[in-house]
């Protein structure tokens, strides 16, 4: 299947063929924004056009791409390796509300009066549920948008969504609004958004680390999405470190059976120790490091098993040696491509 921009891009064999809206969530500290940005780059590869949407007003996308703060405007921010464009939109609920008024009611000119009277303020802060509807609404509009010739404007949209703990509620706009508006324009708008978000063209991906709390939140989030009948995507396991040591060594270290003397000999052979006493001192210190590493590795193995129980594809992303800078972002995009996500 070729992308909507026509035959210029080769057919891809990816796990999420046909998905046009990729929602990326994750617990704080898991690297959600970085993964969303890398996913956008990976999806854009092959001369495609991708929109990366930020919904929480933190300017995280600008930081990841090392750019000054982004305005509320769809703006090209990066080029994928081998061609392809990533656009970004930093969502602003107030602007989205004015947009919405303009789009559906042709009353943008009223904006100033509404702002002055505190209506916009009310809708976007006092009643933040409306704010979520506006933000997902604007994103849904971009997913559905076509140009004059009827072609989709974007091949894919990536949303850097709220954290895992809030994701189901955030996306489940229909239910949120149902308690409020059983009929009327807000309800119609929410239904349109629901149509996009719950469709097979959407996938909600989770970013996690192999640690207890993020894994638990990921499983809870997946369960909540399933209950709300929203489409669960894959799980990105971020910052995966290579095990580094042979299984037997790790096992010995876990069981406190690690033999320091061989290590001490090795240290002497490498010229890192002055004499036997010094070698065994360093060996003891390093052995403690190994034992902690073994403990961590064992915990990570358990957490991975737990994740496997969720029955969704898992994608490992490497810990970036140089930190999450721009070069690291492209490295992650490559990893995402290699794993068959995009």
């Amino acid at each position: 299947m070729s992308g909507p921009t026509g035959g210029k891009n080769a057919a891809r064999d990816t796990d999420w063929e046909g998905v046009r809206l990729h929602v990326v969530t994750g617990k704080g500290g898991t690297g959600k924004t970085t993964v969303a940005a890398a996913l956008a780059l990976a999806l854009a590869a092959g001369n495609r056009k991708v929109l990366l949407v930020e919904v929480e007003g933190r300017q995280g996308i600008a930081q990841v791409f090392e750019l000054p703060p982004l305005p509320y405007e769809e703006r090209k921010i990066a080029v994928a390796p081998g061609g392809g464009d990533v656009y970004a939109l930093a969502m602003d609920p107030e602007e989205a509300m004015l947009d919405y008024l303009e789009m559906f009611y042709g009353i943008k000119r009223m904006g100033k009066a509404l702002t002055r009277m505190g209506v916009i303020d009310f809708a976007t802060t006092i009643a933040p549920g409306l704010r979520d509807v506006l933000v997902t609404g604007k994103t849904s509009e971009a997913v559905r948008r076509r140009d004059k010739s009827g072609k989709r404007v974007y091949d894919a949209i990536v949303m850097d969504a709220p954290p895992t703990g809030r994701i189901a509620r955030f996306l489940n706009v229909t239910q949120e609004v149902a308690g409020l508006a059983r009929v009327g324009p807000v309800k119609n708008h929410a239904d349109m958004v629901r149509g996009v978000v719950a469709s097979p063209e959407t996938a909600v991906h989770f970013v996690t680390l192999l640690e207890e709390m993020p894994v638990q939140e990921t499983l809870d989030g997946i369960a909540e999405l399933r209950t709300a009948k929203l489409p669960v995507g894959g799980v990105f396991i971020n910052m995966v470190r290579p095990t580094g040591l042979p299984e037997a060594v790790l096992e010995a270290a876990s069981a406190n059976r690690f033999d320091n003397s061989e290590l001490a000999l090795g240290l002497k052979a490498a010229g890192l120790a002055d004499g036997k006493a010094d070698a065994s001192l360093i060996a003891d210190a390093l052995a403690q490091e190994i034992s902690e590493h073994a403990c961590r590795t064992e915990l990570e193995r358990r957490e991975r098993e737990t994740l496997e129980g969720a029955g969704v594809p898992l994608y490992d992303l490497p810990l970036l040696a140089g930190g999450a800078d721009l070069a690291g972002l492209y490295e992650l995009a490559e990893a995402i491509h290699t794993r068959g996500v995009a």
């Binding site: 509404l114 505190g118 709390m213 090795g266 052979a269």
Partner: protein, 386 residues
Amino acid sequence: MTRTAPALDIDAILDDESTRIIVCCGSGGVGKTTTAAALGLRAAERGRSVVVLTVDPARRLAQSMGLTELDNTPRRIKDGGSPADPDGVNAENGGALHAMMLDMKRTFDEIIEAHADPQRAQQILSNPFYQSLSSSFSGTQEYMAMEKLGQLRRSGDWDLIVVDTPPSRSALDFLDAPERLGRFLDGKLIRILTAPAKAGGRSAFKLLNAGFGIVAGVLTKVLGAQVLKDIQTFVSALDAVFGGFRQRAEQTYRLLQAPGTAFLIVAAPERDAMREASYFVERLAEDRMPLAGVVVNRVHQSPAPALSAARSLAAAEDLEARGDHELTAAVLRLHADRMQLAAREQREQEHFTSAHPTVPLVQVPAMPEDVHDLVGLRQIGRLLAS
């Protein structure tokens, strides 16, 4: 040039009887809730009567304190803490530890019940707009956290309240709550919304000037008549309650600025978290909130700090080239990774300290395992104080 931040003396803060509130703030995923619980435990074991107010629904935290779950009422953590029974709070110094989790809907309902007559309370509680606002909308949590904090403080039942802040978009949103509420209550919107209900019908819009009429028309068009009516009923029913609500939010805000409050910023030694910490320092200063210092969690250290990453790597390569001592080579590579990570984390912290040289800081080393019980929390407390 390496800058060293002044050391943050946690015990001095916990032992100071004039410290009545400790607010832990920081971005998500940095161990804020665990830090709050560890501080609470340590303060209790040093003789203070403490309540920990958390907004994090993590069941694990409740379990780590020996409770099956936390709810909107402070629950006492059982005494113990002796070598024979380490899983309990050591009350030898006369302290006690309570914990609770904010239930925003329950808290909101209680305010309504306490401040409106029964008939009006019923009217508000059954209003669809109120039900959405109180149970699902994300911003409500900030108001309710402020409200609960104020309630706990006014009750006088505890001499120290440790609170962790809501995991909102900006973790300091709760500071904006009183102002936001004030803006709404002083705004013209509330007059538009309350006017028709007060005058008893739609025709009341005519009593207002033309500008109001247009806005009301737009609201009807956008929201639909039914939603607008619900909002109007809600707002006018709540009108009386709102006034007191706002007054208390302002009181709590001033309470936070007062000398008995200590703000602790919790961070992790990563770029994003330290950047957020910087933002918090500036934001707290802007609001004239008393910052006590920064807790940097999960700092990686090495038991063999004298062996540098560079030497370690070179030696590993040397051994590998000789085809000798495979195990030692692998261990040295592992050590080099750890030293590099430690150096990177150190740089992130130095970066922060250069920008905020007077802000005291304490580091808590990364644990190989997560905290599961009071013993683990106690250990974190010790590390915080060392």
